[in-house]
């Protein structure tokens, strides 16, 4: 019975948010509520018949202005497992070749009366802007370097399942913090759950004011990884960064790529995470990425559970 819940939302109080735009909008109890809901969704995806009827008759549009295979399919599977009608729209635009504005697109889609829009956009704030112009729930699937709230939730769920707790842990986020929405959402979420957060990166990949967002700031991996329970590696956009933000991939890997030696500086039971897609040999040694300490594929699995929970929470809150 515990493994085959017919519905999950009925067991939780109504979720008070209409949209999920930013972790900054969530109170601590709402974060924990979403994690608890997601925990209940994990077994659903492990059943033979992986479905719940909770979103039957609802329409979910995945609107991706930036290409993303994994996040889009994760949201698609989450919606479908809850019985929603899921439509994928990939909109190829750039700020220079825009015809229709974002607000126009929002109005057009809104007229089709979806129940939820899952939106990814290359510009910070774009998802929030869109949410102001539609009558349905909006989930931010990543907006520029601003936030990626479901990634932070799935990371937290993964940590909780491996460590049995979140509060009191020390988590290091390593790499291109300046350009990372994953880092921002994680710092906000982990901070709200009383985690000791560290960022580790070369100075030029640390954004101004980062000392106010993380508990500690390091530029040296050896110092930064001491006593760490969780290591989150970030993707380096090396095609763009090489020669501009960093001199070369090999120098970056030498000082900031996670290999066995550097992993040895962390706690012996520290887990290794990565939001994907990984650059093996750039920010992480393939042996570590695929090794025993890596929980990277668990993150992908938890991604579906978290997205099911978020969809369920936002849309069942509607009815309450």
């Amino acid at each position: 019975m515990a493994d085959t819940p017919a519905s999950t939302s009925g067991d939780f109080p109504p979720f008070r948010q209409r949209h999920l735009i930013s972790i900054a909008d969530l109170k601590q109890h709402e974060i924990i509520d979403l994690l608890d809901r997601a925990e209940r969704m994990v077994p659903v995806s492990r059943q033979e018949r992986k479905s719940l009827p909770t979103l039957s008759g609802k329409t979910q549009i995945n609107l991706f202005f930036e290409a993303s295979t994994r996040t889009q399919s994760s949201f698609e599977i989450a919606g479908k497992r809850l019985g929603a009608l899921v439509v994928n729209m990939s909109v190829k635009t750039s700020s220079v070749s825009k015809g229709e504005t974002l607000v126009d697109t929002a109005a057009t889609l809104n007229a089709m009366r979806p129940d939820v829009l899952v939106v990814r956009h290359g510009a910070a704030g774009a998802v929030e802007l869109l949410s102001q112009k539609v009558g349905c729930s909006v989930i931010n699937a990543g907006d520029g370097a601003h936030e990626h709230p479901t990634q932070a939730l799935l990371d937290a769920l993964t940590i909780r399942r491996h460590k049995g707790r979140i509060s009191g842990l020390t988590v290091a986020i390593c790499g291109d913090i300046a350009n990372s929405r994953v880092a921002r959402s994680n710092l906000l979420l982990l901070g709200a759950l009383n985690v000791r957060t560290r960022v580790i990166a070369p100075r030029n990949l640390l954004p101004p004011g980062i000392e106010h967002l993380a508990t500690e700031v390091f530029t040296d991996m050896e110092q930064g990884l001491q006593g760490v329970d969780v290591i989150m590696m970030l993707r380096l956009q090396h095609e763009r960064a090489s020669g501009k933000m960093i001199p070369s991939v090999r120098e970056y890997y030498r000082f900031y790529g996670l290999d066995a030696e550097k992993l040895g500086w962390a706690n012996p039971d520290a887990i290794v995470m990565h939001p994907g897609p990984m650059n093996r040999g750039v920010e992480i040694d393939p042996a570590i990425a695929d090794g025993a300490r890596s929980v990277i594929t668990d993150q992908v699995e938890m991604g579906v559970a978290v997205r099911m929970a978020v969809l369920d929470a936002l849309l069942s809150g509607d009815q309450a």
């Binding site: 900054a24 700020s95 825009k98 504005t101 974002l102 607000v103 956009h121 510009a123 910070a124 704030g125 774009a126 929030e128 802007l129 907006d143 520029g144 370097a145 601003h146 936030e147 929405r181 921002r184 954004p207 101004p208 004011g209 980062i210 106010h212 967002l213």
Partner: protein, 430 residues
């Protein structure tokens, strides 16, 4: 010949002479012909008498940085609609930036603007001429021919000239014609893809920052070149504590340097952006509160000479965009005075200093007769209720565009009547 006008029972505030006392002003043929402070004034037969009822009578404001949409973007603003907004805001003259389509980079365009403004605008529009063709920062324009056509100064408007060598040549040539170079300083490579002030707040929003040094480094360069060439140089709009220090040091050595500040940088800071409010996305970004306090002190101490509106009409098509993709700019002609009076009401800057920065100082920099209340000066005047409370409603503004950075702001102080050349061009209706 128009009827003489007598404005009596006014509190005459004239920054040029330091006057702040009761009196009356007589206007004949568009000029101030008599000025009576605490005494009688001869009233010609048939004169129209305006009782100011103790309101402040000040010179009409001269706004050194206004963008319109004519020619090229008339749906954003025409000379006529900018004139309406200006009149309602007490701005009797404004310098029009050359960022039009086509750009003001040729004597014929200057000539068109002068004629068109006379025919359609309620206030005086003073064209600024581009320093480079198409404002592209490559080839010099014909400074002398544009001055003959009526250009009051040289500027590339929103654009900042990157080539130090070109700027040196432009300054030397401008000095030759005794024209003022007005330059908005941005180091484009350092500014990069920045869209707001660099710092924690930009980091939280996930937006790329504009470091203060992108303003101060080219400003230092400009001030050195100004000393080298002897040109009259006006730093178009400074926004940082560092810029105030740099200008202060340069002014102590070179009397031909002046500096301006946008009303936005005096009254607002980066926190006003809130959650991606694009009306607060400006060409000179809103800075930190420390910077705002520094530019206020710069104004109070005289390092900063002028306050302007940076009026920049943009339509919703380009404003209702994700922050990084939205156009810069906010309208401000109509809120300039009331917003500036905030500094007076908060006792940060004296009334005479604030008004001087919008009247006699810009007049001196541009070589205009206006901007003062004196016998013989043009009768460009405003009657102001310094305490009149009002709330900005974007739909009641006269501009064709709605992008005000003072949306819903509660302000104290309003223009009750605006006269240009002795003619009433705006009368407040309750």
């Amino acid at each position: 010949m128009t009827k003489p006008v007598l404005i009596e029972n006014a509190r005459i505030v004239d920054p040029a002479s330091g006057t702040d006392q009761r009196g009356a002003v007589l206007i004949e043929d568009g000029r101030i012909t008599d000025l009576a402070l605490d005494g009688p004034v001869g009233v010609p037969d048939g004169a129209e008498v305006i009782n100011a009822n103790g309101l402040v009578l000040a010179p009409g404001l001269i706004d050194m940085r206004v963008f319109t949409g004519e020619p090229g973007w008339e749906y954003r603003e025409t000379l006529a609609s900018a004139g309406e907004a200006a009149a309602a805001g007490g701005v009797t003259s404004f310098v029009m930036m050359p960022d039009t389509m086509p750009a003001v980079d040729d004597g014929a365009v200057v000539d068109f603007l002068v004629r068109r403004a006379k025919a359609t605008s309620k206030v005086n529009i003073l064209p600024a001429a581009g320093i480079t063709k198409g404002l592209a920062g490559k080839d010099l324009t014909e400074f002398g021919l544009m001055r003959e056509a009526g250009a009051v100064c040289l500027t590339d408007g929103r654009n900042s000239i990157q080539s130090t060598a070109l700027l040196r040549t432009a300054m030397s040539y401008a000095a030759n014609f005794d024209m003022t170079i007005v330059h908005h300083t941005v180091d484009l490579s350092l500014a990069g893809e920045g869209v707001m002030n660099d710092g924690l707040f930009a980091t939280v929003l996930g937006l790329k920052g504009l470091p203060r040094e992108a303003e101060t480094i080219p400003l230092s360069r400009d001030l050195q070149l100004a000393a080298l060439t002897g040109v009259r140089y006006h730093a178009a709009q400074i926004s940082t504590e560092g810029s105030v220090e740099i200008v202060k040091a340069a002014k102590s050595r070179n009397a031909r340097i002046t500096a301006g500040v946008s009303i936005n940088n005096l009254c607002l800071n980066e926190n006003d952006i809130g959650r991606y409010r694009t009306y607060f996305k400006l060409g000179t970004p809103l800075r930190s509160e420390d910077d705002r306090r520094a530019v206020i002190e710069g104004l109070r101490s005289g390092v900063i000479d002028t306050i302007h509106s940076d009026h920049d009409p943009q339509d919703s098509e380009v404003k209702r965009q994700p922050f990084a993709e939205a156009s810069n700019g906010a309208i401000g002609l109509e809120t300039l005075l009331a917003a500036a009076l905030r500094l007076v009401h908060s006792d940060e800057v004296p009334l005479l200093t604030v008004l001087k920065a919008m009247t006699s100082r810009p007049a001196e920099i541009l070589g205009l007769e206006a901007g003062r209340i004196a016998k013989g000066a043009p009768a460009d005047l405003i009657l102001v209720d310094l305490d009149y409370p009002w709330q900005v409603n974007e739909n009641e503004l006269h501009s064709r565009s709605r992008n005000t950075s003072f949306e819903n702001a509660r302000l104290a102080g309003k223009v009750m009547r605006t006269l240009v050349g002795g003619e009433t061009v705006f009368l407040h209706q309750d």
